[in-house]
């Protein structure tokens, strides 16, 4: 099983009591609490940690993007990828991902991903996501068009990567009279595509039909298994065989020299489960964004929201894994046995977890955990 390093690049340097005055840290919490001098230092620190994860032997570096929130100030997944494409040597760069429904120019997106792939020497894993409602508000894209735009944006990117230009595109949501990108991916026919999932059966089926790698995020094992079943349905429709390489899973994880230190560091993940996901349902799932099936499944998938769980609940449910290298290796192997996944994505830095703790965790993962899991 292959391990991936991920940080949301949080900006949690504000008094929590200030954040609690607002209905959500996303959208509402005013950006006067954003501190450019701190952000300057943080970005450099987070990039250093990614570079160290490359050296430590992680299979890949996962990058994501959010907006209008202190939980993630990585506001341009392709911008970060372009930096790491140049400053790292061997790890895959997993963009998870570009938020297709809010994209106004899929051709530019196809070009930017291709450019990062070229600079990195073909190390891009190109994840595409539907995004959460927050990004729909931020971009002011009609939520009822979310899935249509996701699919049309995807189709146009794929056409850019697989068919010679120039050509014209007249779709429902995208219109380009002259498509002829002079920047195409190094990997052929195109960089591997990854799709995350938390609740939509339709997304899992769609990913399976296309043979893309599918990664549930922070869901209970039984829900991940159900989503994988939907994925297999889609794969079967297209006559595809599903292997462990098609399946991934995302959890939060940290290791340290002692169990006590690891458990102390792991508490930082509770912030992302609770405080950063607090807010009205309208913010996270505006009307029309989810299908009825997706809404039903989301209710089932989260009988108890992550925000309602204690640290002990989150540890017991394997949403967070924290321990010595031997202990986390054992738990990762447990995840692998339970779900049969080939890729384990580790959200490995969060909230106010400091630089030395993060670096030591990366170092220990590289020295002890990654080798222990290499044969799984």
């Amino acid at each position: 099983m292959k391990l991936y390093y991920f940080s949301e690049m949080p900006h949690h340097e504000f008094p929590d009591a200030e954040g609690e005055k607002y209905s959500s840290l996303r959208l509402d919490f005013p950006n006067r609490f954003f501190d450019p001098s701190i952000a300057h230092a943080n970005y450099r620190r987070y990039l250093d940690e990614y570079e160290f994860a490359d050296q430590a032997g992680f299979e890949g570096l996962m990058l994501n993007e959010h907006h209008s929130t202190p939980s993630c100030v990585n506001v341009g997944v392709n911008m970060t990828a372009a930096i790491l494409a140049r400053t790292t040597k061997r790890a895959k760069l997993l963009l998870l991902g570009n938020i297709l429904p809010i994209e106004e120019n899929p051709v530019r997106l196809a070009e930017q991903i291709a450019m990062a792939d070229l600079i990195s020497g073909g190390r891009i894993l190109s994840g595409f996501v539907r995004g959460i409602g927050i990004e729909t508000w931020w971009a002011n894209i009609n939520p009822v068009h979310n899935r249509e735009r996701f699919e049309e944006c995807h189709d146009l990117i794929m056409k850019c990567w697989t068919e010679p230009g120039p050509f014209r595109w007249e779709g429902r949501h995208y219109h380009f009279r002259h498509v002829n990108p002079w920047c195409l991916p190094l990997q052929k026919p195109y960089p591997p595509v990854w799709i995350p999932g938390t609740a939509s059966p339709e997304t899992a089926i769609w990913a399976g039909r296309h043979g893309y790698t599918f990664v549930p995020f922070l869901v209970p094992f039984e829900i991940a298994r159900e989503l994988f079943d939907f994925y297999r349905q889609g794969a079967a429709q297209a006559g595809r065989t599903v292997t462990a390489d098609n399946l991934g899973f995302l959890i939060c994880a940290v290791t340290a020299d002692t169990k006590a230190k690891a458990l102390e560091a792991g508490r930082h993940f509770v912030w992302r489960m609770g405080a950063t996901l607090r807010g009205p349902v309208e913010y996270f799932a505006p009307v029309g964004m989810r299908s009825r099936a997706g809404t039903q499944f989301a209710l089932k998938a989260r009988p108890k929201s992550l925000a309602q769980m204690s640290y002990d609940d989150l540890l017991a449910g394997h949403f967070i894994i924290a321990g010595t290298p031997d202990e986390v290796a054992d738990r990762f192997a447990h995840v692998q046995r339970e779900l049969g996944v080939g890729h384990l994505l580790l959200e490995a830095q969060e909230s106010r977890m400091d630089h030395p703790t993060t670096m030591r965790s990366i170092e220990l993962m590289g020295a002890k955990v990654i080798p222990a899991l290499a044969t799984l």
Binding site: N140, N142, P143, V144, P280, V281, E282, Y283, V287, G288
Partner: protein, 271 residues
């Protein structure tokens, strides 16, 4: 007079409608909350006019219209509906997004309709203030902001006091989805509508609630200035739902306006 229910097929969409009353036809276009049926004010107005109250495509029990992109589509659809239903040249009354639709219809085809009643219509960008972002709030909280004082509303319990059935919840979700489809961006207005409203010389009555927290009352002034033959009436102690909040006064005002022998003079009124 009890209404009948009809389903008309227009442009391939089955449109559910309440129809009843006697007299000249009056087409009534509902707001984002959906078609509330034969409420008290409709009952009173239907004594002298034949009320046609269709449910918009994508709302309630009408068919889907996922191809629609904006209120201009809905306006063109209802001009077609007028022909399909054989309404001749009806009076037109619209509330909120139905008011915006009515304004677009009048601006597109002023001779297809007779007199126009716009009740707290969206459609124009307020000169001051903002139209409340109705998608940003949970529905129960939004309802509280929609009216001025529930205790003064005679039909409050009948309309809002019951726990909704699963079917009613599904319809409420559907109504919100279709509203989002039609009004998301530019939010609740057409930046070019003001260019076309001066064409509408039809007698027009604009009605607003002084305490409207959804659409600023300044929009009523904007409509009055842009429409060459319009009066504005503002109800005191009233929010965004004048027909529901003050049904008797509202029905009387509408009946007076529609029955007046000549077009009323321009001006203001306060009730």
């Amino acid at each position: 007079m009890r209404p009948r229910e009809e389903t008309l097929s227009v442009g391939g969409i089955d449109v559910h409608a309440w129809v009843g009353g006697r007299g000249d036809p009056l087409l009534v276009l509902h707001g984002a909350g959906g078609n509330r049926g034969w409420t008290r004010w409709v009952e009173q107005v239907s004594e002298r006019f034949t009320v046609w109250a269709p449910t918009h495509p994508g709302f309630g029990r009408s068919g889907d219209a996922e191809w629609m992109e904006g209120i201009d589509d809905l306006a063109r659809f209802y001009l077609w509906f007028i022909d399909a239903a054989g309404l001749g040249r009806p009076h037109l009354l619209g509330h909120s997004i139905g008011g915006w639709t009515a304004a677009e219809m009048a601006a597109t085809s002023p001779r297809a309709i007779d007199r126009v009643v716009l009740v707290a219509p969206v459609g124009l960008k307020p000169e001051t203030g903002e139209i409340l972002d109705v998608f940003y709030y949970p529905p129960p909280e939004l309802l509280g902001m929609t009216v001025h004082d529930p205790r003064t509303i005679p039909e409050w319990d009948a309309l809002f006091g019951k726990t909704p059935t699963p079917e009613e919840l599904e319809i409420a979700t559907r109504n919100r989805e279709m509203t989002a489809r039609l009004t998301w961006k530019p939010y609740m207005h057409n930046p070019r509508l003001d260019r076309f409203l001066p064409r509408v010389t039809n007698p027009a009555l604009i009605v607003w609630g002084r305490e409207d927290r959804i659409v600023p009352v300044v929009c009523g002034e904007q409509y009055r200035k842009l429409l060459p033959n319009a009066t504005l009436t503002v109800f005191e102690r009233c929010g965004h739902l004048p027909p529901i909040e003050q049904p008797d006064a509202f029905a009387r005002l509408v009946l007076d306006f529609l029955s007046a022998p000549a077009a009323p003079a321009r001006g203001h009124a306060t009730r």
